[in-house]
Symmetry: C2
């Protein structure tokens, strides 16, 4: 992780960031202006600029003849608007989602394809490759691809590390590296959905955020200080495995009575059917709700209250603030979210109540792929903060 890099590496990254930030703020600059603005020595600055030009982040150009003044024309440096396209791929359980973003932070396109659960990893990577090539009506230039961010199901022990495979997906980084020939960074896809919501979604621009995803699995992610909090083993955000029922049902994790056993989409549908309802999936449940089905309403009120309890404890622990609820089950809307918010506010400590801000997620199923891009943009030394700055060009 970047925070554990040595001071010289850290400083060098800081120098690059500063150069990129100054170029985005001031527009085209000569090397000498850049030198006086940055406080860097001529040697250091020339090295850094050479590196940024070599990797395509910065372009050097001479002024148009009409703009030239007397004397030798001075080369100016600018950000390269075509540089640094990043793609994100989310390998979900039964689907692949892809997204591409350019250096100006514009989403070029997203695409998804469902597949059978037993699809092999080489087949999934092929599918991802085909989806990527379908993006953006040909505006995606894979020649300027900087990196691939990848989301996978389950814990990732050294997330963000190029060399680290996801658990049980040993060959994946190699397969992707072969296919795209650029660095590959990996993290848990639910955690990445959290990062995406904090970058482009319901919590855009927030530096602190709790994200809970209620889908067929229940999990989440924590964004602290603008970065993903992963925990020492990359095992954070396992909100679905907080125990809520004494001697409850067995859970996929090996425990019993976990939140996931009562609040996952599957658990809710099972409970609905056990209470006499008929619904194959969450849209069917949502439609029963819209028709005024009291069984569905009471069930979701119970589930919402249970989830609110867990979130209240979490807000007491990490601090109250923005809480974003995503996943298929969140699509049931107020029937779930109102009792959830009520329980959350009732159970968080009174002093903290006013700071709780509950919002539904906005990015849907491509959140994981977008988060994988955000991971690259946040963690790659050169591009870190770069697109944010490119945006602020408009401001200045």
């Amino acid at each position: 992780m970047s925070s554990q890099a040595g001071p010289l590496t850290r400083l060098r990254r800081g120098h690059k960031e500063l150069v990129l930030e100054l170029l985005s703020k001031h527009g085209p600059l000569s090397r000498s202006s850049l030198g006086s603005l940055s406080g860097l020595s001529r040697t250091t600055l020339y090295e850094i600029v050479a590196e940024l030009v070599a990797n395509g982040a910065v372009v050097a150009s001479l002024p148009e003849p009409a703009e030239r003044k007397r004397g030798r024309p001075v080369e100016k440096l600018t950000l390269n608007p075509g540089a640094g396209q990043v793609i994100g791929i989310d390998f979900a359980r039964r689907a692949v989602h892809v997204a591409a973003v350019n250096v100006a932070h514009d989403v070029i396109g997203t695409a998804s394809a469902a597949h059978a659960a037993e699809l092999t990893w080489p087949e999934r990577v092929d599918l991802a490759g085909r989806l990527v090539h379908s993006l953006g009506d040909g505006s995606l230039d894979l020649g300027s691809l900087t990196a691939v961010g990848v989301g996978v199901v389950g814990p990732v022990f050294n997330p963000g590390d190029e060399a680290t495979p996801a658990r049980g997906v040993d060959g994946l980084p190699d397969l992707l590296h072969e296919r795209f020939e650029v660095p590959v960074v990996t993290d848990n896809n639910t955690r990445l959905a959290a990062l995406a919501e904090a970058t482009w979604g319901a919590a855009a621009g927030s530096r602190e955020m709790v994200y809970l995803r209620l889908s067929y699995g229940v999990g989440g992610g924590l964004v602290f200080g603008g970065s993903l909090h992963r925990g020492p083993q990359g095992l954070s955000g396992e909100f679905g495995h907080i125990k809520v029922v004494e001697d409850g049902k067995p859970c996929e994790c090996g425990g019993t009575g976990c939140l996931e056993t009562v609040a996952s989409a599957g658990a809710v549908l099972d409970a609905y059917r056990a209470a006499g309802g008929t619904a194959e999936d969450v849209p069917a449940l949502a439609s029963a709700l819209r028709e005024g089905d009291a069984t569905a309403r009471d069930l979701l009120a119970d589930v919402g209250a249970r989830v609110g309890d867990v979130l209240a404890g979490l807000c007491n622990a990490v601090g109250p603030g923005l809480v974003v609820i995503g996943g298929e089950l969140a699509a049931t809307g107020p029937a779930l979210l109102e009792p959830l918010e009520e329980a959350l506010r009732a159970r968080v400590m009174p002093l903290s109540r006013q700071w709780v801000d509950l919002r539904p997620a906005t990015l849907g199923e491509t959140g994981g792929a977008l988060g994988a891009i955000a991971l690259v943009l946040h963690e790659s030394p050169v591009l870190s903060r770069y697109p944010m700055n490119a945006k602020s060009e408009e401001d200045s």
Copy 2:
């Protein structure tokens, strides 16, 4: 907070840290060697060195005549071993604790004094001043005092910010500033005890840690990436107000059934007496335990299990790792900590179990004051990382 400083400020801090780190690694260096090692321009380097010399962190000296070679002698720069003494003051409910640390990270001394709860703030500050002057057998040089770190009871909304008073303690920073004439930074004293354990105590050197304090109040702190996690409103670490009993007893926070209502020292003593035991305070309870009192044993087993539940949920959320238990109640030892650890391991998700590492706190009642010093050392731009680096001088 430092993480929200602008890029130029961040970079400037990075420059200072680099200069301090190079001096600590290489020993005495000339300005020109420092220039080539750091990559900084002459102008930037001279400005930074001038600032570091002015605030006493760095001293410039000419070589001894015997060591001189031909030509004009070259001034060398070194870290000032006497620079940057920091004091920490913990204003607890009924006591003041102080500690002083020098730039080499050595604890010069600690002192404590109990007082009546109704003591006014000017009186408490006077008491703190007298305690500070009693430290270190006169080796404390208040002339080289860099800053005062302060811990207070209750939430602190903008912790680490010099200008921000603690809630309900509006005049305190001014009183302290008048008294010591150096910058004052403030945070919640339980959170500071967490930082102290991660710096000098049970979790020394750990970058990730959960700290829980079981005293007459129940609270804690989270250290993530080597820094205190405060939450957006400075309201994190309120583990004592996580609800554990449905329709439970009223809590000081205004809620009901909080962990504090069952696991604080007061709650445990009340429950012990209600069950027929006799104990005025925690030492009396501990002595009953040693004599084999089954009521005390069963009670602490229940309390431990309850606390373990809460910690398991917390480890699932923020990631399993080092958990440190402090506060007076922790002094009851295995009677509390064994059932606590058992519940924690049983309730954390199975995949995470192996990563849980439970330890008793080691710093005792001066933890808050030491943490206030750690706060200054971590957050002050100039001294950030400085003492750590001064330590590594021995390594190279």
